[in-house]
Point group: C3
Chain length 350, copies 3
């Protein structure tokens, strides 16, 4: 969608310099920019040495740091305002009320007339789908599921029955929500399935990455809080509670009943034992491991298996690397002590 520089600046509530009527129609990296691109420059250093060959229509830059010859919008946070401008130039796709004839839709499903139902989608009995949703190829909406407004479900997203999704959720291809949790009771010979009859609630503005899996509660609810962002191939087990604005990177796994409070930031390939409790705003580094039942307290960054505060982890890791020297020092001390013992014995025997 084409916009003028002054329209973009006005949308962002920011000042600009240069040709306000010039048209911009996309966001680009500066390496790939052409004469209709919006770019951003994050630092004054980069702006000062900016290649004159770059052909962008406009750059979002720190105040008064525009490279020569490029129209500029001034922002204290260029990357943030670039992301905002992108939502204007390349807005989320909007639905047009399409119903593909190959879709299999239950007569008892309630689907707003604005919703796009793509090819080979299934919507089962009692499902309710609100205004502006887009269901791509092969999506399955189970019995009684509810989708809020303007959700986008990419191909092959599977919702088991009774899953509730809030407004503006984005579920990427292959996401599974509401599968049975992993719970059994051993009877001495075989594992008996513990009932997995709870539900999943995904609140507003959640995004979940490709092929991630979110299990339903066993008897209760698995909840993903508003604005949480979950990367690809993440596992969220039954009864987990993910707070508002939590970020979880790829391939992390969260075991049953664990609580991750709001605005925690979790790296990739992290593992949480069951019934752990991560407090508000905690940061956990990639590949870390949190033991079952562990309380991870606010105010720190954590690393390692099991997790420790980062400063402690760094110190221990450095000492781990110095183990050969420690061994050496101990050997030398043993020699010195043996010499001292011998010398003393000589004295004593005099």
């Amino acid at each position: 969608m084409s916009r003028t520089i002054s329209e973009i600046a006005s949308f962002l509530g920011l000042r600009f310099q240069g040709d306000g009527d010039r048209k911009v129609d996309k966001v680009s990296s500066w390496e790939a920019a052409d004469a209709s691109s919006l770019i951003y420059i994050e630092s004054r250093e980069v702006a000062a040495q900016f290649p004159q060959t770059v052909q962008a229509a406009c750059a979002i830059v720190l105040p008064e740091s525009a490279p020569a010859g490029i129209s500029a919008i001034f922002s204290e946070r260029p990357k943030l305002d670039f992301a905002r401008a992108a939502s204007l130039l390349q807005p989320r796709p909007s639905s047009a009320g399409m119903r593909h004839p190959s879709a299999v839709i239950s007569a008892s499903a309630e689907i707003d007339k604005s919703v796009d139902v793509g090819p080979l989608v299934t919507v089962r009995a009692g499902a309710r789908i609100r205004r502006g949703c887009i269901l791509h190829e092969g999506v399955v909406i189970g019995e009684g599921c509810v989708l809020g407004e303007e959700c986008v479900l990419y191909p092959s997203v599977i919702l088991y029955p009774q899953v509730e999704v809030g407004n503006r959720a984005i579920l990427h291809a292959g996401v599974v929500v509401g599968s049975d949790g992993f719970g059994y009771v051993f009877d001495g010979d075989a594992y008996i399935k513990f009932p997995q009859v709870g539900t999943v609630v995904i609140e507003d503005d959640v995004e979940i990455g490709a092929n991630s899996t979110i299990d339903r509660g066993s008897l209760g609810v698995t909840r993903i809080g508003a604005g949480a962002k979950i990367d690809n191939l993440v596992q969220v087990a039954h009864n987990v509670q993910i707070g508002k604005g939590v970020v979880i990177a790829a391939q992390t796994g969260v075991s049953g009943s664990t609580i991750i409070e709001e605005y925690a930031v979790i790296g990739g390939q992290v593992g949480f034992g069951d019934h752990a409790h991560v407090q508000k705003g905690v940061v956990i580094g990639s590949k870390a491991g949190v033991l079952p039942g562990k309380i991870v307290r606010s105010g720190e960054t954590y690393w390692g298996i099991p997790v420790r505060p980062l400063s402690e982890f760094k110190r221990l890791n450095a000492l781990f690397g110095r183990l050969p020297q420690m061994k050496e020092e101990i050997s030398k001390l043993k020699e010195q002590v043996a010499l001292l013992q011998a010398a003393l014995q000589k004295f004593e025997s005099k």
Copy 2:
């Protein structure tokens, strides 16, 4: 399905007290229970202090520990009997012989008339599907696959050709069985694909979690033993042998030709090198790593990368945390030894 308390007690072979004719129609957590719920209470302590506001129809409790005012069934293992009761109240879905017109079914497939074939399912040539199976949306049954009785395949389960599945298997959404194993021979310039022409056998009563992947044997068979339970996003490579009753938690990966003997219990995010051998009943903690070719012997719980017996792991981990003190002690010893050396030298020079 509605049942009376006396019917449930009789099914479980247990005593009850209270109103045997009262109807129960679901299992619930006690927090969410209503007047038609069955709940369970695992300990006498919880039962003794049980909130009087809870409205369950019936509780399964340890003998003679019924909270006041609730009908009770007495069990030495309340959680196990609760799980059994759930299979009575909320039984597995049963098939009704449905053939959705959108399904694509080969004329040479043999499908029992009781089987449900859901929307947009494909069943290829020569597949055989026995009594009571349910195939959800988008399932693909490859050429020559065999499904035993009463299997449930959730949406988008993909079986490559020639996969055999036993009775009562549950495969969750997005599971892939029979994909090519990861085997190549380097010719000095490129990787030449090693043939992946074996099969997969999944025995009776196996459950596999969402988006897990089970590769076919290269020349032989990948086997998942009877009653094994596999969580979400687990990888099982070519020629792996998983024994009877093995439990594997989410995101664990098992490399080629590894053997995991019966009743082993494997945590989440564990990694097994190829040709490892885990003996019967071994327990391996989450995030552990087993080296290629390693034999992990029965009778222990293992942790760490590489795995060590838990007692040893705990001791080493504690000492790891004490590295700063060890460093401190070595420094102090060095000072003391230097003082001793100086003192001795003084003596000697007298």
Copy 3:
């Protein structure tokens, strides 16, 4: 496909002994071989003690090491030539120009007439699919995607719009290519989506395992180099560059903008922080962790979290296991030093 021993030897450019006219129709393990099987024997030791009961038609063996009674083809690298022979006996499936009536194909897609479009496939506007491709059930080809010649896409492979795939790619079931990268800017209250409007380029002869995910570039390109082989459940983030002939085992995750140069070999469950740089030919062991921005230099094998050269890792790991002895030695030294101090004091007080 049936071939004579002399045809196979000729195809491989190798000598044989025995009955050149004998028919071979498949590759087998020697345990499962029958009278029409080709097998291979990797070492002279195994060949010398080979069970006389094995019924293969022909064995590929090291020169002059044929077991008695079996026709043999002589090779310096039996496993490699066995893999090559397999490509002759059990060649890749070839397409026949099938268009399944249930497929949903845009009028503006260009699909070579030789291509197989399976049941329930979707091909969107502007896609171009070249000679010999096979699209299995439920595959989705997004707007403007390009597939080179003879690609095989197994069921439920999802290509988001604008993905480019080279010749002879094999994408296994459930693979997602071109999903949005995981990028947000925090505005103090919520995470604002950073634009994910780049593309993915997959070069010739790439194979990607089941349920792996490859994100599109944010503003640039995510690239998988020619001949790279990627196992199941692997995550490749936005803007990653994977070089020619790189091998990546299952469940590894590569964070944004990381570069892995040609012929690197990466184990399973490895994690790469963002903007890391792995140089040509590096080998990284399973479960290793590479820190963000880290340069991993050519000429070494690396292990551990964070990665260290293998020799160093082994030494440190051995010392880690000896921590109890080190603690013991320190305690003993403390005792000895205390005794020495006491003895000296006695001298001094004389």
